[in-house]
Structures are given as structure tokens and as C-alpha cells.
């Protein structure tokens, strides 16, 4: 194994030598290497251990299909778990270690359990570790330690991710011969084209041809150059299309920085970008992956795919072994043999299962070509050293091998068992791949609109046909796009590689690995079928075939073929397992994109927010809004510098200030809907439970809204501006939902109602001045409204000028105190707030948050929808029958539901007040209630609970079965902490039952 002298078309840059670290030791390689080619060039055989048996594994492939060479890349905030050595572009100072090996790559415990391996067959754990069941957690603990590859990184991500939305006429997946040809044809018509390719350089498998075909090289250079110069073409390299969703939404991960050394990464740029591509047409030129031949110990290091060996040779000038044995069941191995002779002067032994291929040229060159032979077994300790080969015969249905075997010495074995077209993307939207007997492969059905496949995914094997197929595909879709197109191209003939039917030796099937990563052997599939796991999905799930990070890219088709043979069915009858995204694993951060941290979900702020921040408010999340929760005052200490009040202290202070003097709160978050039209009253009467026919302009009214199930969904105050113009308020959290709800009813059920709805939530900023001295504050700011209690009574609103700003002032109250809500356009919101603070200084005006608001309203028994109701409370249950009018000319939403047999039951849970016997005991909100101390049967729960500063005692609201008829009864609250607290059922209005405070200071 060595690096060859410079090759004409190699992709490494020998002028740049990079140092890298593998398993703690230092090595060198060239720019352009992958970690895999660098490891091979440095003679490293064993790169991983298998999942179940801890077997030594080497590099099997050269691309994303690699199942063995999983590594942990870098550390700290740059750590990448389970990276495949074959897709890591080498950069200077790269640091990698094997992702497997317990405790180390050199010594693996699982391998040490070798005598027990024969018992560790598929599904053995279902049959064992059963008794006693209680001990399973202990077994599980140890089994878990044995599983998994890399550790999860221990630090948060040092890099970031983003998304980009792309809109193109044509997306071409794959930058090989077919993809480039398709892209060029499409682009020449003027269509916008996006080319997506997963490698660092375009070319795909075509690159392996450059060494032997100057024509290929030339076609590639000129096509690439042409594409790069076209303004309507965008090329995404290092980009993997990992999912294709309906309506051609193609998801692509672009690795923008993973190839750059850590020191040189640009922290302003995302590490990876998810492109969300909407393409009018998609061309799938995704290519194919080779699959290996099966034989015992086919997992030994040094056994690899023929195409991989060819790629390492031609692109990286790495010779994987001096004494190669090439084995295959199709024509492709001969190309590798020729390259080995030409590039490295190495003469391999070539084993072809078939007979009849004209290999005279190779034989003449002195190569040992044996047709009708294959490998039955490999052997070696750290690496393959010998293979046993035998003559094989095909009877038209099955293969058989002669008993006589022969042994060949070797240091590398490259095999080709045919090709698996990459049908994945086509299948993501439910298409089933079609099996071709001629190709011995599943081909894409491409039966969904606006897509087409081209190139080797269609089974083409020579590059010229791929070029032709690409052009043909582009031509087809351009017709659909109605773009002017170049003269018609013809669909190329399929040139068959003459892949022989599937063969799996019958001996030592417990050493023949179908899925390398998960250690699924041919014998496991036999066992699964013996135990009646006969559906391919059952086989997969029972054996774990295809469950690995490679998702069975190499092994699945072999497993399917073996299952078909064992079940005596055809391969298409057995079918494939389901192809689902992701095509290759995608970083979780890249899926999330920029929408993490504070951008995870919009934070909504009121126009007054900056004032709250300046006053040191703590905030509560309500829906998406950030609302002041309470305003802790700084406390001076004798020795410490400073601290702030806790929630309890601040809320006590805020509550008393409102009750005794005046407070101010930001009510801007309430939803506001402007409703206009001749039928507004009728509309309101239909959506609210109460009546709206007689509400005069200048007045406001509280309303309760139900769904058709008769349960409360929202409440709020609506003001009448004129007979045809109202403004509704909704709860903060319900605003968007209620707006949609109203629009939906209007547009679908009541299109004849003449009503226009406009959301004005953001337009208005609302400052509420609350407390006995509220009038004295507002009178300092507004002279064109008469605030006398008689002239401006409760539940009225007035238009006026507050602190020089036109405003709507509403006299409504959520606290039982005199209260004015000043509504001004958002642009003046903060100004008004500050003016109110200034005007209220002499009364020690106190800003308060949602917590104090909750206490004040609970003292008055006002509900909060969503806290005191939970979607299962009717207006009657909420003791709000007064807000239900059953005599309206048209039924309101939910009206019919209120008379169902269950809804009219008198023992439903009803909203009541609770007074704990111990007046200092505050019930935890949510606590369940029972009838008697020892009872376990729940009769309701605490919905709201506070220590009321003004009453000097604890109060609560609760729903209790038949609670409204049980006033004065003692029941018990059972807390999570194990306490049983006696409470008395009471009216839910605790404070100022005579409503004497509503008018404030007279």
C-alpha cells in the first residue's frame, strides 16, 4: 500500500502537505486527500470495530456509502461524531480518532467475547435477559455501554448554521457526466439551473475515467467551464440533496466550512447551510453505488469495493495493495485491472464469476484472468492475506460452487457485485423502485410529476451514454417548462455490464457479512426467515439490517436478494424496505438553521418594553409576548451592595399600591380587532354568548366566547364606536387564534353578513391607570374629557387628548378599582407611559406586572381564560350564566351544545372561590380537591391561588363538582407535597363585594 508517483489526473495537490493526527499519532498527506485516502496512503488498515462483535474493519468504499470508517473528528465545540473518513476532506492539523473500539481500536472487549459470538445471533436479546423482568435495567445498563459509535460532543456548538430558500426552474442532483450534461442542456435554453453535487469537485465517477480517457477529461473541462460562465447556473459543491419532498421541495445541505482547517474558518459564515429548493423540475442524476460480492470473512480489512480501489488509484494515487485479487460478476472489474497495470504496474488476479467476457487484451498483458471463478472465503488476521476460490456454475436459477478450492495469496481484494442505482430521492415521496433483471438492480420509477432521472441511476454504465442520457432528460423537462429547446436528442441505448445474478456461498454463512456496520450476517437472515420474520421489513427489523449510519446503501440489496432466494420468491416480490430521508445523515444544527436561541420563536414586545427594562422588570412569557411579570425594587443593604425584591415582596407592594393609591400597567398585548359594517351587532351576537343589540355608542361590554362544543374559548371587552363600528379585545394568548376563528365563520358560514375584520393589536398601545387615585392622575394629562364618575361611568369609553396625543380612554376594570385604559397609537405608547409615571409621581404611582394583575382580579373573582378554564368549562360552569342570552334571534356559537344531556348535568365542575382554613396557607395552583381527608376521588382542582395583601389572607379559585350549590362546605386540597389542607367553598368574589371601589376617590 503506498502513494504512487505523480499521476496525470490525480486530484491531490502535492505542493501542499498537511499534517494530521489519527489515534493520537501524527501523519502527513496532501491537499485534496480525503481522510480515507490519507489513511490508506499511510498504510493504516484497521480503522474501526464493528457494532456487535467488535471485529476489525478497514475502509470498504470511497464515498458516502462507507459503513466501517467512522471517526470522531476534532473535539470541543468543533467535534463531529460518526464522521465517515471517506467524506472528510483533509485539512491541515486535522485531528481524528476511530469512533469505535471498546475500550480501544486495538483491543475491543466485544471481540474478546468471541467464544460467545455464536450465541449472539439476530434477536438473541428477545429470548434472554427476561427473568426476572426487574433485572432488565441492570442488563440494559451494560448493554448500552457496548452500543453506539462516537460520544455525543460534550460542548455546545462553536459554529452556526443557516437556511436559504432557492427557487429555480431546474434542479440537477449530481454533478457527474449525466448531471453536467443535463445542466448544460437545460441552461442553454435560458432556464435557471441549480447543480447540486456532494463532492468537493464536480465530475462524480467520471473523474475515475480521466486516467484512461482523454476524451472524458476534455468533455468534462469544457462542460464545467461553460456552466461556470453562465449567469443562470448556480453550482453547489460539497452539497448533498438529502430529501425530496412533494411538489419538488428539494432539501440540500451545503458544507461550507467543514473542509477548512479550524484556524481558518470564517466565524461569520455558517458551517453548513440548508438550502430549501423549490424546483419546477428536478433531474435526478444521482448515480449508483457498487455492491460487493459475498464470501466468508468478506469484512476483513483489505477487502474493498472495486470502484473504490479505482478511485483511490486514479484520483489520489494511492495503491491499496501490491498483490490484488479482483473479483466480480460484471464487466466493470476489467477497467480496474487495466488501470492497475497502466498506473501502478501491478498485475492483479482477476476472478470473473461469468464466462465469456473477452479478456484477451488483459491475458495478453500477462494478467491471470480466471472466468467462472469466485471467492468463497478470505482469511488473515489484521488484514486479508489469502482467499479461497472455487469454480462456480449457474443453472439458470441458482449458483453452485465446486467442492474443490484453491488458495491465492493477496494483500487486497477488490470486488464488484453489481450496482445499486441511488433511487433514494425518487422514493421519498412514496414511489416504489422497479427491479430490472437485465441490470440486477432497482431503478427509479420516476412516476411523480416534474421529475426525471438520468445517467447511471438509470443503469447506464459508460460515460458517453450518461452524457447522452443527461441531455435527453433535460430535453424532456424543457418541453414541460415550455422553454425553447435544442434539437431533440435520442434516448441512449443501455449498454449492459452483464451483471450476473446474486450469489451467496452456502458455507460459513455466519461469517458472511451483509450489513457490515450492524454485523448482520447471511446466517442471521436465514434465522429470521426460519423464525417466520419473512416480510422484508420484518427481516430488517429483526436483524437490524440497514439500520446503520449508511442505511444499508451497500448491504440492503444483497440482503433482499438473499431473502428472495431463501423464500423462493423473486427479488421484486420481496421488494425493498422504505427509502426515507435523510439520504445521508444531516447535522441537527443544520436542520434548525438560524432559528435557535432567541430566534427560535419570535419574541414580541410592546411599545413600552424599553421602559419596563429600564425599571428592572422581570418578564413572563405569555404566548410569544414578553410581559412584565413584576417590578422588583432594589433593596439597599447595610453591607452588600444591593439586591432586589423577590416576587412575593414585590407583588405584595404592587397590590397594596393599586388598592390604596394608584398603579399602572401595560395592557398592550391584548388582541384588538376592529369590526365594521352594518351587521356588526348581529355578528357579535353570534360569536359571543351575550346580547349586543342595544349597546350604545360610547359604551363597552364584556363578552364570553364559546366554541361549538359550548366551552369557553375567549373573553374580553368590546367597545361600541358607532352602530356599525366596534372594537373587540381578546386575550393576549388567544388573539391570532380568535381572529382566524372569526374570519373562518364569516367567510364560510355567514358570507352574507356585512362585516369587515381588521387586526389592530399592534396599532394600539394601552396603558392602564388603576386605583382610587387613577382619576387624579389622568386629569393631569387630559383636559378634554370629563372624568367625573357620573359623566364618564364604568364601562364607557371616550375619545380625547391625553398628554397631547389623540387617545381612546376606556373605563373598564380588571381589578375592581377605578381604572382608565389609555389607548394611543403605538408610536406614542412609551411616551404616554412615561407621562403617566411622571403625573403619578406625587401619588407614588406603582408600575405592576401580570402577577399583581392576577392577584387583583382573583380578589374580584374575574376569570382568566386558559388558567381558570381549560376548554372543558361552559359559561354556566364558570358561574357566568348572566352572560348567556338564549333569547337572541339567531343562535350563538355553542348554544346548541349547552343543552346536551352531559352539559346540563348539575354536578359538573363549577367555578367557585376557596378560603383555606389557615388564612396564611397559599394553595399551590393546580392542587386537586377531595371531599374528605382520606378520599382519593377528585372533585376538582385549584385554578388560581394567591395571598391577598388587601385581605391579609389566602384566597383561591377552583373548579369543584357541583361547587355552586355547596357554598360553605369544607373540602380538602391534596398537595403534591403530601399536605391535606382544609378549605371552605366560597363565593369567588372576595373583595369589595358591594362594588364600592369602582368609582375610586370621590
Amino acid at each position: 500500500m503506498k502513494r504512487l508517483a505523480p499521476q496525470a489526473h490525480e486530484r491531490i495537490d502535492r505542493s501542499k502537505t498537511y499534517q494530521f493526527t489519527w489515534q493520537g499519532e501524527s501523519y502527513y498527506a496532501y491537499a485534496g486527500d480525503t481522510l480515507a485516502s490519507a489513511l490508506l496512503a499511510n498504510g493504516i488498515d484497521v480503522v474501526g470495530r464493528s457494532f456487535k462483535y467488535g471485529r476489525k474493519r478497514g475502509i470498504l468504499a470511497a464515498g458516502v456509502e462507507e459503513p466501517n470508517a467512522l471517526v470522531t473528528l476534532e473535539s470541543g465545540g468543533y467535534e463531529v461524531p460518526n464522521a465517515r473518513a471517506t467524506e472528510i476532506e483533509l485539512y491541515d492539523q486535522l485531528n481524528a480518532k476511530a469512533a469505535s473500539g471498546i475500550p480501544s481500536l486495538r483491543f475491543d472487549l466485544r471481540a474478546a467475547l468471541k467464544p460467545f459470538h455464536k450465541f449472539m445471533v439476530a434477536g438473541f436479546y428477545y429470548k434472554t435477559f427476561k427473568w426476572p423482568q426487574k433485572l432488565w435495567p441492570h442488563y440494559e445498563h451494560y448493554l448500552r455501554q457496548l452500543a453506539g459509535f462516537s460520544e455525543v460532543p460534550q460542548q455546545a456548538d462553536a459554529e452556526h448554521y443557516d437556511h436559504q430558500y432557492q427557487f429555480v426552474d431546474v434542479a440537477v442532483v449530481g454533478g457527474g457526466a449525466a448531471g453536467l450534461s443535463a445542466a448544460l442542456t437545460a441552461a442553454q435554453s435560458g432556464a435557471s439551473v441549480l447543480v447540486i453535487d456532494e463532492r468537493a469537485e464536480l465530475g462524480g465517477e467520471l473523474s475515475s475515467e480521466f486516467a484512461s480517457s482523454a476524451e472524458a477529461q476534455q468533455w468534462f473541462s469544457s462542460t464545467k467551464q461553460a456552466l461556470e460562465q453562465m449567469p443562470n447556473v448556480r453550482i453547489l459543491k460539497r452539497s448533498t440533496a438529502f430529501a425530496l419532498h412533494d411538489f419538488n421541495l428539494l432539501l440540500v445541505i451545503e458544507r461550507r466550512q467543514d473542509h477548512v482547517s479550524l484556524k481558518q474558518r470564517n466565524e461569520k459564515q455558517s458551517r453548513q447551510r440548508q438550502h430549501r429548493v423549490r424546483a419546477k423540475q428536478v433531474i435526478l442524476a444521482t448515480g449508483s453505488h457498487e455492491r460487493p460480492l459475498l464470501f466468508a470473512n468478506n469484512d476483513l480489512p483489505g477487502v474493498l469495493m472495486a470502484s473504490a480501489m479505482r478511485r483511490y488509484l486514479n484520483e489520489f494515487a494511492v495503491l491499496c495493495g501490491d498483490k490484488p485479487v479482483l473479483a466480480g460478476n460484471n464487466d466493470s472489474i476489467y477497467a480496474l485491472a487495466e488501470d492497475l497495470v497502466k498506473r501502478a504496474g501491478v498485475k492483479p488476479v482477476v476472478l470473473d464469476m461469468r464466462v465469456g467476457y473477452d479478456a484477451s487484451r488483459l491475458i495478453a498483458a500477462g494478467i491471470d484472468v480466471r472466468q467462472g471463478y469466485t471467492i468463497l472465503k478470505a482469511s488473515g488476521s489484521n488484514r486479508v492475506e489469502q482467499v479461497s476460490i472455487a469454480k462456480v456454475y449457474y443453472d439458470g436459477k441458482l449458483w453452485s460452487a465446486s467442492a474443490a478450492t484453491e488458495t491465492l495469496d493477496c494483500d487486497v481484494v477488490a470486488t464488484s457485485g453489481g450496482f445499486n442505482p441511488l433511487v433514494h430521492l425518487d422514493c421519498h415521496t412514496g414511489s416504489k423502485p422497479l427491479f430490472s433483471n437485465a441490470l440486477q438492480a432497482f431503478l427509479p420509477a420516476c412516476d411523480k410529476p416534474a421529475r426525471i432521472s438520468a445517467g447511471s441511476v438509470n443503469g447506464h454504465s459508460d460515460w458517453q451514454a450518461c452524457v447522452q442520457d443527461g441531455a435527453y432528460a433535460a430535453h424532456q423537462i424543457l418541453g414541460r417548462l415550455e422553454k425553447s429547446v435544442a434539437p431533440t436528442t435520442v434516448k441512449p441505448e443501455l449498454k449492459l455490464l452483464n451483471v450476473a445474478p446474486f450469489f451467496c456461498p452456502t458455507h460459513q454463512r455466519n461469517k458472511i457479512f451483509i450489513d457490515m456496520q450492524n454485523d448482520v450476517k447471511a446466517s442471521d437472515i436465514e434465522l429470521a426467515i426460519r423464525e417466520n420474520y419473512r416480510s422484508i421489513e420484518h427481516i430488517k427489523r429483526y436483524t437490524a439490517m440497514g439500520f446503520g449510519t449508511d442505511q444499508g446503501k451497500i448491504g440492503n440489496v444483497l440482503g433482499i436478494a438473499l431473502a428472495a432466494q431463501l423464500l423462493n420468491r423473486s427479488i421484486p416480490e420481496v421488494g425493498t424496505t422504505t427509502f426515507r430521508p435523510m439520504y445521508t445523515p444531516v447535522t441537527m444544527g443544520a436542520l434548525a438553521g438560524e432559528e435557535v436561541g432567541l430566534l427560535f420563536d419570535p419574541q414580541r414586545f410592546t411599545p413600552i418594553h424599553a421602559s419596563h427594562v429600564a425599571r428592572g422588570a422581570e418578564f413572563e412569557v405569555v404566548g410569544q409576548w414578553m410581559r412584565p411579570w413584576y417590578f422588583p425594587k432594589a433593596i439597599e443593604h447595610l453591607y452588600d451592595a444591593q439586591s432586589a425584591e423577590d416576587l412575593h415582596t414585590a407583588v405584595q407592594r404592587e397590590c397594596l399600591a393599586v388598592r390604596n393609591s394608584v398603579g399602572v400597567m401595560d395592557a398592550s398585548t391584548l388582541g384588538k380587532i376592529d369590526i365594521q359594517g352594518p351587521d356588526v351587532r348581529e355578528f357579535l351576537a353570534r360569536v359571543y354568548t351575550n346580547a349586543w343589540a342595544k349597546l350604545a355608542p360610547g359604551k363597552c361590554r364584556y363578552g364570553v366566547m364559546c366554541d361549538e362544543n359550548g366551552m369557553i374559548i375567549d373573553d374580553g371587552v368590546t367597545a361600541c364606536l358607532s352602530d356599525t363600528h366596534f372594537v373587540m379585545t381578546t386575550t393576549t394568548g388567544g388573539a391570532a387564534r380568535i381572529y382566524n376563528h372569526l374570519e373562518t365563520w364569516l367567510q364560510t358560514e355567514w358570507p352574507a353578513l356585512k362585516v369587515y375584520l381588521t387586526s389592530v393589536t399592534d396599532h394600539w398601545s394601552t396603558t392602564a391607570i388603576v386605583g382610587p387615585k387613577a382619576r387624579r392622575v389622568i386629569e393631569k394629562l387630559c383636559s378634554d374629557i370629563d372624568f367625573n364618575a357620573k359623566a364618564f361611568p364604568f364601562m364607557d369609553w371616550r375619545e380625547g387628548t391625553v398628554a397631547g396625543v389623540p387617545a381612546r380612554v376606556m373605563r373598564i376594570s380588571f381589578s375592581g378599582e377605578l381604572s382608565y385604559e389609555i389607548n394611543v397609537p403605538a408610536n406614542y405608547g412609551r411616551y404616554i407611559w412615561e407621562q403617566v409615571m411622571e403625573a403619578g409621581k406625587e401619588f407614588d404611582i406603582t408600575p405592576y406586572g401580570t402577577e399583581t394583575m392576577h392577584v387583583l382580579r382573583a380578589e374580584k373573582g374575574y376569570i382568566i381564560v386558559g388558567q381558570d378554564t381549560d376548554g372543558s368549562l361552559s359559561p354556566y360552569d364558570a358561574n357566568m350564566g348572566w352572560a348567556v342570552s338564549l333569547t337572541k334571534p339567531y343562535p350563538f356559537l355553542g348554544q346548541r351544545a349547552l343543552t346536551r344531556s352531559d352539559t346540563v348535568r348539575t354536578d359538573r365542575k363549577q367555578l367557585v372561590g376557596l378560603l383555606p382554613h389557615d388564612a396564611q396557607k397559599v394553595l399551590p395552583e393546580g392542587t386537586q380537591l377531595v371531599n374528605a381527608i382520606e378520599d382519593k376521588a377528585m372533585i376538582g382542582h385549584v385554578t388560581s391561588s394567591y395571598l391577598s395583601p388587601i385581605l391579609g389572607r389566602s384566597i383561591a379559585m377552583a373548579v369543584v363538582k357541583a361547587g355552586l350549590s355547596r357554598m360553605g362546605n369544607t373540602i380538602y386540597a391534596k398537595t403534591v407535597g403530601g399536605e391535606t389542607i382544609p378549605v371552605t367553598i366560597a363565593d369567588s368574589v372576595f373583595y369589595d363585594t358591594a362594588k364600592e371601589k369602582l368609582d375610586g376617590e370621590v
Binding site: 427557487f167 414580541r604 411599545p607 365594521q676 394600539w764 398601545s765 408610536n827
Partner: protein, 190 residues
């Protein structure tokens, strides 16, 4: 009564606009626009007459009529138009509109405070916005077009009245979030 000097503020007043002020990507918040929602079925006789009186010709779906210095009428939905106009003319316009539409089934709603009005320019404007917006602003928003869509999980109205820039309206309460998203998305171009 004290003499008051009302202070007018915009949603993004607190932000440092120097952060988004390069040739590659530049964002300005416009202070001087008002926004009036007009709901009316222009096909009714009364409405047609009133609209003519107001010098409003109703735009086709996804388009605009009028101009920024008097009134720019945006199609928002069927029977729904968003009118951007100089703030100084807003109150007079609303008054005139309400008068003209007296007796017609229509709504005139001042929503000026509801939005932050952004002017977005710079050579990389589409690169930045395509990270946030679900809509093909580069390819599908020619001069004279308006779309309501989503960007950075916020509802936005985007329209184009000039060759080299876009205008965007985002609701006041979402403005700071949207700003943060713009800052993050444009980081690599600054």
C-alpha cells in the same frame, strides 16, 4: 395643564442602524409613513364613486396603484387594500375616506402604529432575505408588486417601488425579532 410635547417613536428606534449600513446590505426604518387599511368591494356602485372621489384606483391582485408621495394602494386581499401614505396626510385622508364612503359597506382603519416600515437595499439584499423569506423575492417581485408572506417566522408585507431596493412592513411587536434575524443573516456580508 402642563404643556405636552408628544414624542413620536418607531418600533426600531432603539436599534443601532449602523450595524446594517453597508453597500452589501443596508436597512433603514422609515418614520414618515402612515398606513390605512381600506376594506371595500370596489365593484359596488357606491364604492366606485367614492374611490374615484378619493383618487384611488383599485389594484389587481398582488399589485399596487398610486404613489408613495400621495397614496400607494397595495392589494392585500380581495376587498382589502393597504394604503401607505405620508404621515402628515394620514388624518386628512382618513377623514376624507370616511366621508366619501359614508353609507357604503366599507371600513377605513388606521393601522399606522401597527408596523415598522423598512427600506432594504444593498448588493446582497436578496442573498440575505432569501435566508429568511419563504417567497422568491429575487425572481417574483418585480416593480409594482406586493406580497404578504412570512420571513423569520413573522408575517411581512414586501413591495417594490424602486429598482434597487425593497420595502417591507413588519408588525410592531415582531419588529425587534425581525431586526435580530436580519442582523444575524447579514453577518457574513458585513
Amino acid at each position: 395643564m402642563a404643556k405636552f410635547e408628544p414624542q413620536f417613536a418607531t418600533a426600531l428606534e432603539q436599534q443601532d442602524f449602523n450595524r446594517l449600513n453597508s453597500a452589501a446590505f443596508k436597512v433603514q426604518e422609515l418614520r414618515d409613513y402612515g398606513y390605512v387599511v381600506l376594506r371595500v368591494d370596489a365593484n359596488t356602485e357606491g364604492a366606485a364613486h367614492a374611490l374615484a372621489k378619493l383618487d384611488i384606483s383599485v389594484p389587481e391582485p398582488l399589485t399596487m396603484t398610486g404613489s408613495l408621495d400621495s397614496h400607494l394602494v397595495k392589494w392585500i386581499g380581495p376587498s382589502e387594500y393597504g394604503i401607505t401614505l405620508p404621515l402628515a396626510q394620514k388624518d386628512a385622508f382618513i377623514k376624507a375616506a370616511k366621508e366619501a364612503l359614508q353609507g357604503v359597506f366599507a371600513a377605513v382603519v388606521d393601522n399606522s402604529g401597527g408596523y415598522s416600515f423598512l427600506h432594504i437595499s444593498g448588493t446582497q439584499r436578496y442573498e440575505v432575505l432569501s435566508k429568511l423569506a419563504l417567497y422568491d423575492l429575487r425572481g417574483q417581485l418585480p416593480l409594482g408588486k406586493v406580497v404578504s408572506t412570512i420571513a423569520a417566522k413573522s408575517g411581512v408585507i414586501v413591495y417594490r417601488v424602486e429598482e434597487e431596493s425593497l420595502r417591507l412592513m413588519v408588525r410592531w411587536s415582531f419588529a425587534q425579532h425581525f431586526w435580530n434575524a436580519l442582523v444575524k443573516a447579514s453577518e457574513e456580508y458585513r
